[in-house]
């Protein structure tokens, strides 16, 4: 089981950041590596169990299922159903926590997955840097650091 953990600080209250990231169909609106997204079966994007299908900017196609969404904990958990990365049992959580000292947000994005052992280091770096950290960089650009 491989684990990825990435965290950052966003310069806006957690409620505001959450408005942006809670939209399970909204990745193209803020994440730079995702170009288009739709929810299968016309389900609402906050219906737990819904599936988003999106295309990466390099052309790769991904389907993910929403497993949990909490407006109380500002957290969103999802699994990969289909992707070009070659991962199994991939479950990820994006979670926001208010920093009371200065209206900032502590943002955590983590994942666990199985893969061929020789690819683990490469995939951990790819997911941690190119997906999670790039997402944080975009949020910091939008909301401040």
């Amino acid at each position: 089981m491989a684990e990825v953990y990435t965290s950052s600080v966003i310069g806006a209250p957690a409620e505001r950041v959450w408005e942006t990231v809670r939209d399970f169909n909204g990745l193209p609106g803020w994440h730079p590596v995702i170009s288009e997204s739709r929810i299968e079966g016309s389900a609402p994007p906050d219906q737990v169990g819904c599936v988003r299908a999106f295309r990466l900017s390099d052309g790769g196609f991904v389907r993910e299922r929403l497993l949990a969404l909490s407006d109380y904990e500002f957290s969103c958990t999802y699994s990969i159903l289909e992707s070009p990365m070659g991962v199994d049992n991939y479950v990820a959580t994006l979670k926001l926590t208010p920093v009371t000292d200065g209206s900032r947000t502590f943002a955590e994005w983590s994942a666990t997955f199985d893969c061929a052992s020789e690819r683990e280091a490469e995939l951990v770096a790819l997911i941690g840097n190119d997906v999670f950290q790039r997402g944080f960089e975009a949020l910091k650009t939008r909301f401040g650091t």
Partner: protein, 497 residues
């Protein structure tokens, strides 16, 4: 149930922060609100179930039990076992998480507790600001790269900047001993940290307890260090979380920690009381400790009732005069026991109905003669060795002997059985236990200031010395040649403020 949560980002790796906060018994080394902490029953600091027993800088005692410690999750949970601060069912959690973006640390500190009705807001603020935010600031100052630390929004940052310390003069001792040990020293008052206030002192009270500290009779301070228990002055600046004090306000204090013999001082804000306009700085320094003593002796150790007969030793001294004035006002019959006719006049002026002097008759015979053979209901005795036996003999049946000092030396051992001859109640009160929380100090000073404002009490300033003349002040006090209260004035301001 009240929930409090505070969090911050510390600009240091998680290992550096965890190393500091993981030590369950180490908080007295970093947290500004904790004065001293011990682990009970020989437990280890990382042993689940360990109980830390500690004193806050305001004097309150707290015992807390370690419930959870996780080096994997950087998480620590603890609960209050018992506490002078009324936080019921208090369970707190401290958790650190790494901020991988920049190798920083997210630190969350939260708790749930119950508060007595009406005190919810005050206690929430105490926990959130006085404990959690003050703790964040203290650890930040230790681990962040710059010596001052990056200023953080939400916390005003005048914390421990080395370049903002104020220099001043003080009187300290290098070892226990006689008055010759009192020597001038340079003092530095650092910028006030969380919960602290910095004072420019204008008058300092001299008390007999200072002599006990100097000689080592009481181990309230370890040399080298400054002496002194009380002073008045003006607030220079306040640290984060201090809400009820502002620069320019006149304040005073009378309490440990010892160290009042100086011109500038940084001290816990909780120890300081604001002075009403009708009490000037010299009066406060001369009268606060003695007046607080008189308050708890007459109202708490023995609530004096109208019609009772009191015997007060040293009725012309600092505390003695106040005891005579206040007891007279309360309707008691006051007998003073002193040594000279001059002091007898002072005692009578203070309200003593009778004054007895050493003569052919013993003290107890004189007291019995004045009370129709009954004796005194209450005796306030700070003389000690030379007076104790006479006090027992002068007491009425079921009387109350309050021994609050030993100016003539140790009383030594007494057979409790001999007290049965009078069914004696004996008290040996200690200033600290009546004044060790801000709430107790507030209650005592409220009644004291009211009594001064209504002229029930008048504080007589006997002698003023320059701070640099502290040796002479101690010699005069020890030789019993003083009447009224002795004060020291920091030198730059002269002796006639």
């Amino acid at each position: 149930m009240i929930r409090v949560q505070r969090s911050t980002i510390i600009d240091a790796p998680i290992a550096a922060v965890w190393e500091i906060v993981r030590d369950f018994n180490g908080h007295d080394r970093w947290h500004p609100a904790v004065a001293h902490s011990d682990l009970e029953a020989g437990r280890r600091t990382d042993q689940i179930g360990a109980v830390r027993s500690f004193t806050l800088t305001g004097g309150e005692r707290v015992r807390e039990r370690l419930l959870t410690l996780s080096d994997k999750d950087h998480r620590l949970r603890y609960s209050i076992v018992d506490s002078d601060v009324p936080l019921g069912k208090y369970v707190a959690e401290m958790a650190l998480k790494p901020v991988t973006d920049g190798d920083r640390t997210f630190w969350s500190w939260s708790s749930r507790f119950e508060a007595p009705p009406g005190r919810e807001h005050e206690l929430t603020e105490l926990v959130a600001e006085g404990v959690y935010e003050a703790g964040f600031a203290a650890v930040r100052a230790r681990v962040e790269h710059s010596p001052i630390g990056r200023p953080t929004p939400g916390l005003s940052a005048p914390s421990a900047k080395p370049d903002t310390a104020l220099n001043g003069s003080g009187i300290g001792i290098a070892r226990y001993g006689g008055p010759e040990q009192l020597q001038p020293v340079t003092v530095r008052a650092t910028a006030p940290g969380p919960g602290e206030v910095r004072l420019r002192q204008t008058a300092i009270g001299v008390n007999f307890i200072d002599i006990y500290c100097r000689t080592g009779y009481l181990k309230l301070m370890q040399p080298p260090g400054l002496l002194g228990m009380e002073a008045s002055g003006v607030v220079v600046d306040v640290g984060p979380g201090v809400r009820d004090l502002q620069p320019g306000q006149r304040v005073a204090y009378a309490c440990p920690p010892v160290g009042a013999y100086c011109s500038v001082r940084t001290i816990a804000a909780a120890l300081v009381v604001r002075l009403p306009d009708f009490i000037d700085d010299a009066t406060a320094a001369a009268g606060l400790l003695k007046g607080m003593s008189a308050e708890f002796l007459l109202h708490r150790v023995h609530p004096v009732q109208r019609g009772q007969t009191l015997l007060v030793y040293a009725p012309a001294g600092g505390v003695g005069r106040l005891l005579c004035q206040w007891a007279n006002h309360l309707g008691a019959t006051v007998i003073g026991a002193t040594s000279t006719e001059q002091k007898a006049r002072i005692a009578r002026a203070a309200g003593a109905h009778h004054v007895i002097l050493p003569g052919e008759e013993s003290l107890e015979d004189q007291v019995l003669a004045l009370t129709g053979g009954r004796g005194a209901d209450v005796i306030y005795d700070a003389v000690g060795k030379d007076s104790f036996a006479h006090s027992v003999a002068a007491l009425a049946p079921a009387g109350h002997l309050i021994s609050f000092g030993q100016a003539s030396g140790d009383i030594g051992s007494w057979d409790i059985g001999s007290l049965a001859a009078k069914s004696v109640t004996l008290s040996r009160p200690n200033f600290e236990h009546y004044t060790d929380t801000p709430a107790k100090v507030a209650a005592i000073t409220e009644r004291l200031f009211d009594a001064i404002g209504r002229r029930i009490l008048t504080v007589e300033i006997g002698r003023r010395y320059r701070l640099s003349e502290a040796q002479q002040a101690h010699r005069a006090l020890e030789s019993r040649e003083t009447t009224g209260s002795t004060i020291l004035i920091p030198d730059a301001q002269g002796t006639d403020t």
